[in-house]
């Protein structure tokens, strides 16, 4: 009984997260970066003030973890063409200077933090590789000549 109640509340928290927060982010890649940003760098645990206030902190943490894993697998399953398009959308919504954005992302690889803690290692590799490729393609398109690290 206790377990089913807990599952239902995690589902509620997950639905709430989708409706109130994630649906407002215009692209899946943006959702991934957002969810990864709710995770503490040191402890690896998730925290969302509003969600924790509406549900219990533990329930909110579980919902965030599930959502992060799902979005990560969805983005990792994209074809390269789809990923390039997603990354372009994300770049546009970030309102950063595109050249600066691409240079920073290629050098610093901040997208590494988007990988969930217990992700399948092969999928994590594929994700990182595809992002590197997508960045190189975007830069190639913008500059009109091939560049990659």
């Amino acid at each position: 009984m206790g377990a089913s109640v807990r599952l239902v509340s995690v589902q509620d928290a997950y639905d709430d997260l989708l409706q109130r927060t994630l649906s407002r982010i215009p692209c899946e890649f943006g959702r991934l970066i957002y969810l990864a940003s709710t995770r503490d760098y040191n402890s690896g645990t998730y925290h969302h003030e509003g969600l924790a206030a509406r549900f219990q902190a533990d329930t909110a943490r579980k919902a965030l973890e599930i959502a992060h894993r799902q979005v990560f697998y969805a983005v990792s399953a994209y074809s390269l063409e789809e990923l390039v398009s997603e990354l372009e959308k994300y770049l546009q919504t970030s309102r950063e200077n595109p050249e600066g954005f691409l240079r920073a992302w290629q050098k610093l690889e901040p997208y590494r933090v988007a990988i969930p803690l217990e992700a399948n290692p092969t999928i994590a590799r594929l994700f990182l590789s595809n992002i590197r490729l997508a960045l190189a393609i975007l830069r190639f398109r913008r500059e009109g000549h091939p560049t990659h690290p």
């Binding site: 990792s76 399953a77 074809s79 390269l80 063409e81 217990e118 399948n120 290692p121 092969t122 999928i123 590799r125 594929l126 590789s129 590197r132 490729l133 190189a136 393609i137 190639f140 000549h145 091939p146 990659h148």
Partner: protein, 180 residues
């Protein structure tokens, strides 16, 4: 002429196999740590989902990159995909090796083992390791895009071994070791 080609091919194959063994050995320590962490979350048994294996070896992305008309980008793509596909082969091989080790350890304590079943598992394991070796060499030589069928077969065999081990474990837990 024919002999020199055969000798050259044998030398290439030999060095490729040496590379496979070396990389498999160097990946061993890393894979133990990895599979340990995977085991905690239950992903050890499932491995990499088939849709991702298909994606790694698919031609679709290569066609997309080729259409961009940049030889450098194409080369970069080929390097990246080769690296990911070799990683998958090493992971699969190491994971199955560990499953077989676990299985052998568990089966030593069993009273009612079926010889045919055990022989079948070991035979499948040997065939899969050979297939991983072939895949490794082929990826090194030709890249992963032409090997989708072979990769799918290796993935299916690995999945059967995982399922067999899961069946063995659950049978052992219930006190019956049949039909593994």
């Amino acid at each position: 002429m024919g002999i020199s080609i055969a000798v050259s091919a044998a030398v290439v194959l030999f060095f490729a196999m040496v590379m496979w063994v070396k990389s498999a050995l160097s990946a061993q320590d890393r894979s133990f740590a990895t599979s340990e962490s995977l085991n905690r979350e239950g992903e050890f048994e499932s491995g990499c989902p088939a849709e991702f294996v298909t994606q790694i070896f698919a031609k679709k992305d290569l066609e997309y990159v080729s259409a961009l008309g940049s030889p450098q980008l194409k080369k970069f793509f080929e390097q990246e995909r080769k690296s990911v596909s070799l990683f998958w082969v090493q992971q699969t091989s190491a994971q199955i090796r560990q499953i077989i080790r676990t299985h052998l350890r568990a089966s030593r304590g069993s009273q009612d083992l079926e010889f045919a079943t055990e022989a079948g598992i070991l035979l499948r394991y040997g065939a899969l390791q050979f297939l991983c070796g072939v895949l490794f060499v082929s990826i090194e030589l030709a890249g992963p895009q032409s090997l989708q069928g072979l990769a799918a077969r290796a993935d299916a065999w690995a999945q059967r071994i995982r399922e067999a081990q899961l069946g063995f474990q659950s049978a052992k837990e219930t006190g019956r070791v049949h039909g593994v």
